[in-house]
């Protein structure tokens, strides 16, 4: 009976999100700029939750407590990088926004390929982005699958849970475009934040005498759990490089970068950045839930650490409706990221791959059609990776960051270094991405436990600089128009 109530609450929630997302795009122009960038008209509230929803994901809501539970202090890195993620955007976000308005870009690759006058760059960025997106969306689907599996007490298997989340997101991204994503994220964001605070503190005060008492008991039981470094679950080098690769790579995610084109003004964009650290504060109680579980369940009983949040709610004798609401919030966290990325993946494939290969700009009708087809295919591939992949949520995310951070030198060179050339940009990007994947697939050693993304980034920058100086500079007037934005 309890499972029926829990699943009913989740079902109502999914229907509401579906309705909200699907109607968002109604009555709007059927153009690529509307579908991809909401006609550059989103205000502060939508932008805040759109960006917040992207980070308040399955990784944060399920992977964060999972890390707090299984690794301890290394989970602090999530707070640090979530707060700082948008700070680098202060440097190039407003410039990207201005470039979008001035030159009509709707994707990140359009900006870079125009600056470096390279169609190959556009195609490479589209491929790199799509590969990283698959890892990221797979992470969200995995989170959704855990929610359904636990909510139904195993009656809905892992594969079916992932499939349900995929189908719901697919429908409203298909029909609503970025406006559908934004509206659902406002609702889902507010819902997640409220449930995180109320229930995070609830566990600390019902299972223990408050957070202080909880941490004292953890220290007594596991003295090194709240530390990093030798003898703990994460080395110093791994911690620092995880923070750095995440902070530097965060705004390079094409789905976040291209949101610069959806803001209605520079001011909206800036205010979004200024208020963004509040999302990190909202993550504190989410971690408390993971810490609260340490003395409640053995890892062998739990299975995967990422299950700790849903496990806590289903095993603490809450009313079934409350459990349903909490699991719906966890689902919201996963879906609010999955939708943004699915939408971006479709847009990037249409604009940066198909359109470039065709050698001509696609019409609005063509572009929207291609985006929708790719949205379906992309979701399908991610779904298969979810079912057959085996990594934890946070490990999946860190792997994806390693390739995305390789776009950072392109952003820097576009806006600040006129001497950077097409050959330098291509060489740096290809070397950085290949080196990152070489470490990931164990063809190259992981030096000193430093994140592969950071190692690839160093090589990337060296190649960009050296090859640029060895090749002929690009037209001065052309490159300066990006510097002078």
């Amino acid at each position: 009976m309890n499972q029926v109530i829990i699943l009913s609450v989740i079902g109502v929630y999914l229907l509401f999100v579906l309705f909200l997302g699907a109607i968002a795009g109604r009555g709007r122009a059927d153009s690529a700029v509307e579908y991809i960038a909401a006609s550059r008209s989103l205000g502060f509230v939508c932008m805040y939750f759109l960006m917040g929803g992207a980070i308040f994901s399955a990784f944060a809501y399920l992977g964060g407590p999972g890390w707090a539970y299984s690794k301890g202090a290394p989970a602090f890195y999530i707070l640090g990088y979530c707060a700082l993620g948008l700070v680098p955007w202060l440097v190039w976000g407003p410039k990207a926004q201005a470039a979008g308005q001035k030159f009509g870009y709707v994707t990140q690759a359009q900006l870079f390929s125009d600056r470096f006058q390279s169609r190959a760059l556009s195609i490479i960025i589209a491929i790199v982005s799509t590969l990283a997106f698959i890892q990221y969306v797979s992470l969200q689907m995995k989170g959704s699958a855990y929610v359904f599996e636990i909510a139904s007490d195993g009656a809905i298997p892992f594969w079916a849970g992932a499939l349900i989340a995929y189908a719901v997101v697919l429908i409203y991204v298909f029909f609503g475009g970025v406006r559908g994503v934004a509206w659902t994220n406002v609702f889902q964001g507010a819902f997640m934040v409220i449930t995180a605070w109320v229930l995070g503190l609830y566990f600390c005060y019902t299972l223990y005498d408050g957070p202080g008492d909880m941490f004292r008991q953890i220290i007594a039981a596991k003295p090194t759990h709240l530390l990093v470094g030798p003898g703990t679950k994460m080395s110093f080098a791994a911690y620092s490089s995880a923070v750095l690769v995440s902070v530097l790579g965060f705004t390079m995610w094409p789905h976040l970068f291209m949101k610069a084109y959806t803001a209605d003004s520079r001011r909206t964009l800036r205010r979004t950045i200024v208020y963004y650290p509040t999302f990190a504060i909202m993550l504190v109680p989410v971690l408390l839930i993971g810490f609260a579980g340490i003395l409640q369940v053995e890892p062998g009983v739990l299975g995967a650490p990422d299950r700790i949040l849903p496990w806590m709610f289903t095993n603490m004798h809450f009313p079934a409706a409350a459990v349903g609401l909490v699991l719906a919030a966890a689902l919201a966290a996963a879906m609010s990221t999955q939708d943004t990325i699915t939408h971006a993946a479709g847009s990037i494939f249409a604009q940066d791959f198909v359109s470039v290969l065709m050698g001509r700009p696609t019409s609005d009708a063509e572009a929207t059609k291609i985006i929708r087809i790719f949205v379906v295919l992309f979701g399908l591939v991610s779904y298969l990776v979810t079912i057959f992949g085996g990594q934890t949520l946070v490990a999946l995310l860190l792997g994806a960051y390693g390739s995305i951070v390789q776009l950072l030198p392109l952003a820097f060179a576009t806006f600040f270094w006129p001497r950077a050339t097409r050959q330098g940009a291509l060489a740096g990007l290809v070397v950085g991405v290949c080196y990152n994947y070489a470490i990931a697939f164990k063809f190259a050693p992981k030096l000193w436990d430093i994140n592969p993304g950071i190692q690839g980034l160093i090589l990337n920058i060296v190649c960009l600089v050296v090859v640029s100086y060895l090749t002929k500079p690009q037209d001065k007037d052309h490159v300066l128009k990006f510097v002078e934005l």
Binding site: F76, L79, A83, G212, I281
Partner: protein, 87 residues
């Protein structure tokens, strides 16, 4: 001459010198906060004391988040208070 034209440019030519100095000050502050987060264990790799219900390391990380938020608010007031809406 060519070398100068293609050199690194951190500011567009329209940005006045006084504003550039302010931007540099804020940039240094943010870099310090980022490094503080990345290397928090240098000064706070300890579970005790418990501060505001959090182990000391976690408190340090959260305090840096709050500091960052305050610096961002100050930056907006100082750098952009007179900027017109640019729809």
């Amino acid at each position: 001459m060519l070398r100068d034209d293609y050199s690194l440019r951190f500011f567009a030519s329209k940005v006045p010198p006084g504003r550039r100095s302010l931007i540099i000050v804020f940039a240094i502050l943010f870099i310090a906060i980022i490094l503080g987060q990345a290397f928090y264990f240098v000064f706070a790799n300890s579970a005790l004391p418990i501060v505001m219900g959090m182990p000391f390391g976690m408190f340090a990380v959260v305090a840096l988040v709050v500091l960052e938020y305050v610096v961002l608010l100050v930056m907006e007031r100082v750098l952009f208070k007179d900027e017109p809406e640019d729809k």
